[in-house]
């Protein structure tokens, strides 16, 4: 839990960017709620996984600040070991939350 604040600052913006791109119809407030949930879940993972995620998240944030958002989205679609698993974890937690909480959400994220 000690890493939770730093994980939030590292992961939350990336999660929001990925959600906005994948699910353009998702209301902004919902995207923030989903990203917050995702960070909360990441913060209770095993310590070595949290550490690994924090390192990857930091590198991703640095990359995004240098290369910009479009490049971040390109990065989120790569399937490199660890990096690909980081983005997959964000998407897994986010999608599971969205469709469990709002099962009739459309495939673009817009509410019915």
């Amino acid at each position: 839990m000690a890493l939770a604040p730093s994980l939030h600052s590292l992961v939350h913006p990336t999660a929001c960017t990925v959600l906005r791109h994948d699910l353009p119809g998702l209301p902004e407030t919902v995207a923030h709620e989903v990203a917050t949930f995702t960070v909360r879940r990441l913060s209770v993972l095993a310590a070595h996984m949290r550490l690994g995620i924090a390192v990857i998240a930091l590198l991703v944030r640095l990359f995004a600040s240098i290369a910009g958002q479009p490049r971040l989205l390109w990065l989120s679609k790569t399937h490199l070991p660890l990096l690909g698993e980081y983005f997959r974890l964000i998407r897994s937690l986010s999608y599971a939350y969205i469709w469990e909480k709002w099962p009739d959400t459309r495939s673009d994220g817009s509410p019915t």
Binding site: M49, A96, E100, K101
Partner: protein, 489 residues
């Protein structure tokens, strides 16, 4: 049920003592606690998780994962590919959160354990008698009426192909006779109340950090409590029953490493979503039918399938599959599980609270998973699915037999979502000291009073849901301990 519990805070002590300390309250720890308490031992059960009453969380929901699973349900064995696994972390352990399906260990598996690992007095017939008793205690029964539609579809697909299938019984009661209203007879409903009635104390939110061992004899355990305080529990005997991941981790932290945590065995699974013409989804339950045509190497069954889990199953090829999520009521998730020949490790690393877990699939495992997913796709087509969505990156939508070859060609395990809910074999029991971490009744080699009594003992993966094996062996070992250490003698 709260009246049967004693929480550490209520005891208001940083030091406690007991005759037998049982670490973990799942399928191994709870029967052990009940039998020992009933035999007259002074038993203390410590459980790292909370006591969560059945009915207060929705089965298979994110809320349940948060409250009753370790790591919120996100735990991973590292490897290529990494394999997601789940561990219950609550009073009752995995029995509170799993599918409740029950399978006795096959006779040939018990014979293999006895012969290859040198487990003394492990007689298959005797073990089945013990299994009989357990089945009575936890009310193992078949559905009192028709199975759910996703379950029936699995059966229909198997029938169409001439494949063997059956209905797995569950540890459930059905008070009103409705097969949809089953009440899980997990450890918090059966053996834990029995243990408490016989005088056992049950402490939740109490994590064991290390067992203090000197000259092969354990004397106490250092624990952490929910409020952050440290405590010590002294004992005469200790049973470590934390499951196949936590048990070896505790033993390693306590300095015991020989043949401990080096032979993790699992049943890896791959999955798919099948879409039908009509509404078939049952959000809060799993199919009871299983297809056993290719068992023990390969089995097919159904998974929990609420909309969130359907979305998860479509995730790997979301760009092509996403439209299906709007039709989730017509969909269900199914799995292909294999009996793996790979092995994994559980490693307790100084400075880290949680152990590092790894697993390596063999080439044979990878091929079985490929053929398993293909055969499962065929099964679902025969069951009437209009579209099948395999869960791997690059998967095509399968609409007919002609698409199966393409799916099989594109499949790679490294692109798939591989997971498991069955973990075992991290402290194999038997007299073969080259292979085993514990003796034939769970006493850890080179110790005088440290026992293991959970899924860790199973020498390899049984090829079926392991809970029945775990419980029967736990009861067998507990009875042997009582006979050896009878408190009234």
């Amino acid at each position: 049920m709260n009246s049967v519990r004693q929480i550490w805070d209520d005891a208001n002590e940083s030091k406690m003592s007991c005759e037998v300390l049982i670490i973990g309250s799942g399928a191994g720890g709870s029967p052990t606690a009940a039998l020992l308490a009933e035999a007259g031992f002074d038993v203390l059960v410590v459980e790292e998780g909370r006591w969560v009453e059945q009915g207060t969380v929705v089965p298979f929901s994110l809320d349940q994962m948060e409250q009753q699973y370790r790591g919120g349900g996100v735990t991973v064995a590292l490897g290529l590919p990494s394999i997601a696994y789940t561990e219950g972390r609550c009073a009752g352990g995995g029995t509170e959160v799993n599918s409740g399906l029950y399978r006795r260990p096959p006779t040939e598996v018990v014979e293999r354990w006895r012969d290859r690992w040198g487990v003394s007095d492990l007689d298959p017939d005797e073990l089945m008698k013990t299994a009989n008793e357990v089945e009575t205690d936890i009310h193992v029964t078949h559905l009192p009426g028709p199975a759910s539609v996703p379950s029936q579809l699995l059966r229909q697909g198997a029938d169409a192909l001439g494949w063997k299938h059956d209905e797995s019984p569950r540890w459930m009661t059905y008070p009103d006779g409705n097969p949809r209203h089953g009440q899980r007879q997990s450890m918090t409903r059966t053996y834990l109340p029995r243990a408490a009635k016989a005088g056992a104390r049950i402490l939740t939110q109490c994590r064991v950090n290390t067992i203090n061992i000197s000259h092969a004899k354990a004397t106490s355990a250092d624990v952490s409590l929910a409020n952050g305080q440290a405590g010590t529990i002294s004992f005469k005997f200790v049973f470590v029953c934390g499951g196949a991941i936590q048990t070896p981790a505790i033993l390693q932290r306590s300095g015991l490493r020989k043949n401990i945590g080096q032979t993790l065995a699992i049943h890896p699974t791959v999955k798919l979503s099948a879409r039908f013409a009509d509404a078939i989804n049952v959000p809060d339950d799993v199919p009871v039918h299983q297809v056993k045509e290719f068992a023990p190497d390969l089995s097919f069954g159904g998974s929990a399938s609420h909309a969130g889990l359907i979305a998860l199953s479509l995730l790997d090829q979301w760009s092509d599959f996403k439209g299906a999520i709007e039709d989730w009521r017509n969909m269900a998730v199914y799995y292909a599980a294999i009996t793996s020949e790979g092995r994994g490790r559980v490693m307790s690393v100084p400075g880290l609270v949680d152990p590092v877990v790894t697993y390596r699939l063999t080439a044979r495992d990878r091929e079985l998973l490929r053929s398993g997913l293909s055969r499962l796709s065929l099964l679902m087509l025969e069951a009437g699915a209009t579209e099948v969505y395999p869960s791997f990156r690059g998967a095509p939508i399968i609409r007919g037999r002609k698409d199966l070859a393409l799916a099989q060609k594109r499949f790679s395990v490294n692109k798939a979502s591989v997971m498991t809910v069955h973990l075992c074999s991290t402290v194999p029991f038997g007299e073969n000291r080259q292979l085993c971490g514990a003796g034939s009744y769970g006493l850890v080699h080179e110790t005088k009073n440290v026992y293991v009594n959970d899924a860790s003992l199973l020498p390899d993966a049984p090829g079926v849901n392991p809970q029945a094996s775990v419980m029967a062996i736990a009861v067998r070992n507990a009875r042997h301990f009582i006979a050896q250490e009878n408190p009234h003698a």
